[in-house]
Amino acid sequence: MSTTLLISIISTAVVYAATVLYAAVGEIFSQRAGIMNLGLEGIMLMGAVSGYMVAVYRQNLVLAMLVVILVGAALGLVFSFLTVTMQADQTVSGMAMLTFGTGLSGFLGKGVSGVNANLAFEPIAIPGLSRIPILGPSLFNQNILVYLIYVIIPLSMIYLYKTRPGMILRALGENPAALDSAGYNVFALRYAYVTFGSIMTAVSGAVVSLAYTNFWSDGMTSGKGWIAVALVVFSAWNPLTATFGALLFGAISIIGIDVQTVFPQVPSQVFSALPYVATIIALIFTTGNFRGRRSAAPAALTIPYDREKR
């Protein structure tokens, strides 16, 4: 295998991983808080379209990311209101977010569909590091959103396992009643983490439209939100494991495209379906109810917290 091909595979896998990892880390925090948001795909699309629209009309990436964060926060607050305050069913609310986000993003994006923004997060080579053979050009010649995820993963691990708020978060999805009796505000914490998760998901969408494919078309995240949900479960709610999973999916999706040239007789759809097949297989093996395996899912996941019902 030539070096350039290897570099291209690793580099594409890394960008692919970034497109799902923001959402996956956000969803890990949200689910650790006890709220399952299945509407990631819809929120990603909203993030992707709002970022792309600002890029087209205002030609300003910083402003674009600010808008993406605001859109993510707004959707997160709506979802928190439904699931935390109104105690609505989280699966149904998630489906509502999904259809709402898909529909609204398609409507809003009509004007920019197929329009070239001529603006995207361009790769920046890090001096020194980018000259390491193979790993340099593939890992350290990336755009800023990818570099940011390099920092977010270790920070999220430290936050979860080494800090006091992280300890509280791990408890929040296990036994909210215990935290309530310890004087923590379960509702405020859940609002905060659900909103954080939604912001991260919207950013994931912007990574797709502004740093990965660099265009907007209706439904263009093509199931990445679902892959993020699958990663959360696959990783047993651990950001570092989720990273390896995301890289694996990224590698599978890019290798599929390369293998396609070797086996032209196989329809291309078979190869583009590979990441999704891998998702299903990974989910079966990591979450299947095999004998003796204890699920790592937070015990209170999807259970609304109701003070009067204890």
Binding site: K162, T163, R164, P165, M167, I168, R170, A171, E174, N175, A177, A178, L179, D180, S181, A182, G183, Y184, R291, G292, R293, R294, A299, R307, R310
Partner: protein, 566 residues
């Protein structure tokens, strides 16, 4: 008593209603530093509600709380914690995926951003040494026994500087030996100037360990006294009032049992019978036997009782031979259980909850696969049989969770009674339900078992726990089962309903059904059963004939001590 000291805590005229139900009415309670104060009462007497008001979980509709001489409003658990009032709930508020140290520090006021594990663990070690609360701070909570988890809960309260500690039924999940060591710890804490409130329904334990006792009934304070002035009669009067209850079956002369049975002191009513612990309340009667005094009456009556049993019990019809099974996590839950039960016999299963009782009952009902060994009913091997075959063979199953496993709460009374027999011609013809037959049978059950329902067409989830349980029993015993397995059948029921349920079981055993009676209450087992097997960690520690054993021996077996058969 320490009346010269000011009370650390006073609750005055506390009233709390939930809809039309009054949980607390004009309750006064004073608690002094250095005392263990017991709150005694039946289920539903308002003990837990009162304590939930004190810890800020509920707001009272009326009344005042005075703490250290000041009137306080407690709006939330946080306020209570800040004042120094903490509670160990019956269901522990622990996070199994966190360590002991992390669980304790969730509750400490310290706000440092990063966790300092070494310091946390050292502080916990110091605290556990001071009060003799042994637990490893670095262990994960899911690895701990129930007794250890309770200690973590207590350490949590001490760590947040609690001055008033409330414990809700702390001995319910412990073996008698563990319970005593827990009360010794509470005494140490009281001696160091803290006030301890213990919610309980066990009179003996309260009289032995508390300084003062307050009895609640129907949401009111019925009586309050120093423990030194308490006796069974006074407490019973406070708890149940002057209600009259059905007679204890075993002393009732019945056609099969000659009259002299009633004259003889039965083993659960030893020499102190002068006190006349009402025989219809096995709980109190049993508690009269303190662990140091084995039942003296036992020896005298055993021969007579053996004679009776030979009349009462038929052949051995149910066998388990070296049966093993796994729990939901795939870990061994039952380890080579061997036992046999005779027709007409009530066979008790004693043990601390969670030692394989649920799995045992599910194996008997055919719900849980047998990994090893055989289960035989009347010579037929059922170890591989389906649940339906078990039902057809005449095995009645009263599960631990009556409302979720036994009944369908959303369905009506009439629908629930046919859940196991919907395929019979009586209830369905060509797939159409026979509503007339269902209804007339439902009415018959309601009359025969005195089930109070708001209407046969209302969801059973709306009925009271006692009536739900009666309905479940009505359905299960209607086909004259050959074997009944009942897990904690009277848990959470009031005394009247509990006695009806016990009556149904006794009646079925007289009719020749073999009964497996799983209970946490030794008193109840001694009053009901002919023999008792003790489960500990999935193993059957031994089988004893009631009347040839005592609480002390069973208690030791419950904590895992194996003894030679006498």
């Amino acid at each position: 008593m320490k009346k010269e000291i000011d009370p650390v805590l006073q609750m005055r005229h506390i009233t709390k209603t939930f809809g039309s139900v009054t949980a607390n009415r004009d309750v006064d309670l004073s608690v002094y530093p250095g005392e263990i104060h017991a709150l005694l009462g039946e289920n539903g007497a308002g003990k837990s509600t009162l304590m939930n008001i004190l810890t800020g979980i509920y707001r009272p509709d009326g009344g005042e709380i005075w703490y250290k001489g000041q009137k306080r409003d407690i709006h939330s658990p946080k306020d209570a914690v800040a004042l120094g009032i903490g509670m160990v709930h019956q269901h522990f508020r622990l996070i199994p995926t966190l360590t002991v140290a992390e669980n304790v520090y969730l509750y400490s006021g310290k706000k440092s951003f990063f966790l300092n594990r070494d310091k946390m663990e050292k502080e916990i070690r110091e605290c556990s040494e001071q009060y003799n609360l042994q637990v490893a701070p670095e262990a994960y909570v899911w690895q701990l026994s129930v007794g250890e988890q309770q200690r973590v809960e207590i350490i949590k309260l001490l760590n947040q500087g609690a001055e008033v500690l409330i414990l809700d039924e702390p001995s319910a999940v412990l073996t008698p030996q563990e319970a005593q060591s827990m009360f010794d710890t509470l005494r140490k804490m009281a001696d160091s100037g803290k006030a301890v409130i213990v919610i309980s329904h066990k009179m003996n334990e309260v009289m032995k360990n508390a300084d003062r006792i307050t009895v609640l009934k129907n949401g009111r304070v019925e009586d309050t006294m120093p423990a030194s002035e308490a006796d069974v009669e006074r407490l019973t009067r406070g708890i149940v009032g002057v209600r009259t209850l059905p007679e204890h079956d075993k002393e009732q002369p019945s056609p099969e049992e000659p009259a002299q049975a009633g004259q003889q002191p039965s083993p659960e009513e030893p020499a102190q019978a002068g006190q006349q612990p009402s025989p219809e309340e096995p709980a109190q009667a049993g508690q009269q036997i303190s662990p140091e005094e084995p039942a003296q009456g036992a020896q005298q009556t055993s021969t007579a009782m053996e004679e009776e049993k030979k009349h009462m019990c038929g052949e051995e019809i149910f066998f388990m031979e070296g049966v093993s099974a796994q729990n939901d996590r795939g870990l061994p839950a039952l380890k080579k259980i061997s036992l046999s039960v005779r027709a007409g016999e009530i066979f008790g299963i004693a043990g601390v909850a969670g030692n394989g009782q649920r799995e045992l009952s599910e194996v008997i009902a055919g719900l849980r696969p047998v990994t090893e060994g055989r289960v035989l009913l009347a010579g037929k091997d059922l170890s591989k049989a389906t649940v339906k075959q078990h039902i057809l063979e005449g095995i009645a199953f009263i599960p631990e969770d009556r409302l979720q496993t036994g009944l369908v709460p959303e369905l009506t009374f009439t629908e629930n009674i046919i859940l196991k027999s919907y395929e019979t011609d009586r209830y369905s013809r060509r797939g159409i339900l026979q509503k007339q037959n269902m209804r007339s049978d439902a009415e018959e059950y309601a009359g025969r078992f005195d089930i109070r329902h708001g209407g046969l067409d209302l969801p059973v989830g709306l009925m009271s726990g006692g009536n739900q349980q009666k309905l479940l029993f009505a359905r299960e015993v209607s086909g004259d089962p050959r074997l009944i397995t009942a897990t904690y059948p009277v848990r959470g029921l009031d005394i009247g309903a509990a006695e009806s349920i016990r009556g149904i079981l006794r009646e079925q055993s007289r009719k020749g059904a073999a009964v497996i009676f799983i209970s946490e209450e030794l008193e109840e087992i001694f009053a009901m059963c002919d023999r008792v097997g003790v489960l500990c960690d999935g193993e059957l520690m031994g089988i004893r004939t009631i009347g040839e054993t005592d609480f002390q021996e069973i208690g030791r077996m419950m904590s895992g001590e194996r003894e030679e058969t006498k």
